[in-house]
């Protein structure tokens, strides 16, 4: 159980790889969300899970449906922070933790949100989203 692809002490190399993947993923994810939300479902697989404001759905199809049914047509995400760590769960997998703002069309005030992803390597040499948890930060 321990170790499984985890870096040893001084994980600068693995850390910076993880940072680059996380930043690239975050940019792609939120650009796609804002411009072409229907394309997001391709990032998930049949074992994926999404918890959106406490509502949990599983599998790419259900997740795509959930995202399509969100109560806004257009939004714009602006990202404030991106943190990442190698995930202890599966070799090569990455935890990504994002905070930012979401401006909905027609709304005066932005919403603050936090979101976490676990990215898992796929056979094509890229990643898919195994876990996704989203929460608005009120107040």
């Amino acid at each position: 159980m321990d170790g499984q692809g985890q870096p040893g002490s001084g994980s600068g190399g693995a850390g910076s790889d993880c940072d680059a993947v996380a930043r690239a993923f975050v940019e792609y994810y939120y650009n796609t969300f804002d411009a072409n939300r229907g394309a997001l479902a391709a990032l998930y697989g049949h074992t994926s899970m999404l918890s959106f404001e406490g509502h949990a759905v599983g599998g790419a199809e259900e997740i795509g449906r959930k995202l399509a049914q969100l109560p806004f047509d257009q939004g714009r995400h602006s990202i404030c922070t991106v943190d990442c760590q190698p995930s202890p769960s599966l070799p090569g997998s990455i935890l990504v933790f994002v905070s930012g703002n979401l401006q909905l069309a027609g709304e005066e005030h932005q919403l603050r949100f936090s979101q976490m992803f676990q990215l898992v390597p796929n056979e094509q040499g890229s990643f898919f989203v195994q876990n996704d948890i989203f929460r608005l930060n009120y107040g």
Partner: protein
């Protein structure tokens, strides 16, 4: 055991320990553990204990608003996503925070013994 119940028990234990006996938190981490605190990265129990012990406040009180969890993979363990607020003194305004933890089976066994007193996560203030 129900994963949501495990996650809530873990969260209750983590923040209760943080608020009442912060030095004991290091017992929940191992040398392969990582902490990223406001963008700074720490690995291993010594570094993590050093960071938690050097936070710029002696006393604090966490109030947990939301707890979400998902299984993280076939080897067990879970992803726990917490949001809430922290107050570092009676005159201080609460600061909102979010935190992600990955309790692994060893940590969960730590909590599996029946508690002598049960504590549920604190309800948030209005």
């Amino acid at each position: 055991m129900d994963p949501d119940a495990v996650a809530k028990a873990f969260v209750g234990h983590y923040y209760q320990t943080f608020d009442s006996n912060r030095a004991a938190l290091v017992g929940l981490y191992q040398d392969t553990s990582m902490l990223t605190f406001e963008g700074e990265k720490f690995q291993g129990t010594a570094a993590i204990a050093g960071k938690l012990g050097s936070l710029p406040f002696q006393h604090c009180e966490h109030q947990i608003v939301t707890v979400d969890c998902q299984p993280s993979g076939p080897q067990g363990g879970m992803l726990v996503f917490v949001s809430g607020s922290i107050r570092t003194g009676p005159e201080e305004h609460p600061i909102k925070f979010s935190q992600v933890c990955t309790p692994r089976p060893a940590s969960i066994r730590f909590l599996a013994a029946p508690p002598s007193r049960s504590r549920s996560p604190r309800r948030s203030q209005a």
